[in-house]
Amino acid sequence: MTILLETEVQREIQRLHRAWEDNPTFALVPEKSGVKNEWIEKGLALLPDELKNGHFVLLTSGTTGAPKLIVGQRQRSEKLAAVLHQAQESEPVQETILALPLSYSYAFVNQWLWSHCHQRALKLTPGLSDPAEMRRALQQARNAMLCLVGVQVPLLAAYFKDETFPGIMRVHFAGGRFPQENLPLVRALFPEAAIFNNYGCAEALPRLTLRKAEEADQASDVGRPLPGIELSTNDANELLFRSPYGAVGIVEDDKFNAITSEAWVKSGDLAQPTEQGTWRLLGRANEIFKRHGEKISLATLMTTVTSIWTGHAVFYREQDSSGENGHVLVLAPAPAPGQLQEILLSFRRHHGRAHWPLRIEGVAALPLLPNGKPDVSGAAAMNDKTLLWHQRI
């Protein structure tokens, strides 16, 4: 089974085209996933024989925090690309500009697979890490679709103030909170574009609902299910879905679990239906959260820390100055400078910036709960912590 690294595919997109057309199942993974290659290889080996051809595999942190391999069937995803083409009114769209990592299921299906199935151009860019290149791509766009995450809007505003890109005719948002309050800004940048709020999850591969921006005034309103998709909630308001396009299996905890067509799958969010027939999100179902559009798993990050650090460690949640979700790492006892640098370098090696803690703090000892576990709230509230490092954001 082939493992394609995202950077290799970015250099030669034909590799992905060939992998999709060839029979054997393949995996597309980012290089900095925080997950070792051996884990991925071991996970792929667990796939049953009937999934070893005609499928594809993406890596996600899932809703439990542990890494997961999401297995999709190519025919089902091609059907979703066709459904999206209709629902998103994409027939006039001639090209799509990639501003997100290709291994995100959102970019993978909404952009690469859609362009592949409908013979449209896929314009690869380095995203907003290179504003000049991004500007060039947006200026050259003709009847183009752009897929973004909401947190990119302030950056677009900073980089492209007073500019307009009339070649963009569709702007999609997913992977986090819809930038409802910043719609005037988005419309100023893209005056010819229809703007859509997309909602989904990796297990749905990836779309569940869709709404046009103007159809609601609340970011939490994610619209109606796409044709063929059913949504429901359980007693705890956990959002469940059943999709003919979703994943057919998941590898997690060293086991393969098949997802049958009849199964209701948790999306990882709490939600409730509205009287208008749309769905409103209420928040995350657990401690996994999104920062800058990326799903942050504190469990995965703790694995990175504990691979270097033998002392005590705990994360607590905090918002940064812009209101974005974040996390703070507390270490006990305070590490020596060399140990701290090793931890920081490990974050750099294994995780993108969104996953880095807002701060690293040191204390002599962590407060403990009666059961002996670290007291996260107590650690957050301590007033004699030493600031060891912080992100300036």
């Binding site: 995203g127 907003l128 890490s129 504003p131 000049a132 950056l155 900073a158 980089y159 103030k161 800058h292 640098q341 920081l344 370098l345 974050f347 750099r348 993108g352 910036r353 969104a354 880095w356 701060r359 703090e361 040191g362 007033n383 004699d384 912590k385 030493t386 600031l387 060891l388 490092w389 992100q391 300036r392 954001i393």
Partner: protein, 93 residues
């Protein structure tokens, strides 16, 4: 209340040493990786949010508020030194 770890020492640092610590902190550089001719395209962590973080750090460290155009225009450590030198912040290197 969190107290700064290096507060007194930092106040005695020369500007180049302050800049070195800032760049190392923002981009999580390894020991020996910092150079005054270090370019943005050599450091994978010098991404779009890194640009924002660097701008905040320059404000914190040197008291100079970069405009978005200045922040995006910085392509190297040498560019930071040139920009800050033009604002009267001197570097000996």
């Amino acid at each position: 209340m969190t107290k700064p770890c290096f507060g007194i020492k930092e106040s005695k640092m020369e500007n180049l040493a302050k800049l070195k610590k800032l760049v190392e902190d923002v981009f999580l550089l390894q020991t020996g990786e910092f150079r005054t001719d270090l370019r943005r395209d050599e450091v994978e962590t010098w991404d779009s949010f890194g640009v924002v973080s660097l701008a905040v750090g320059i404000q914190e460290t040197f008291g100079y508020h970069l405009s978005p155009a200045e922040a995006v225009g910085i392509k190297s450590v040498a560019d930071i030194i040139s920009l800050l030198s033009a604002k009267g912040i001197k570097f000996d290197h």
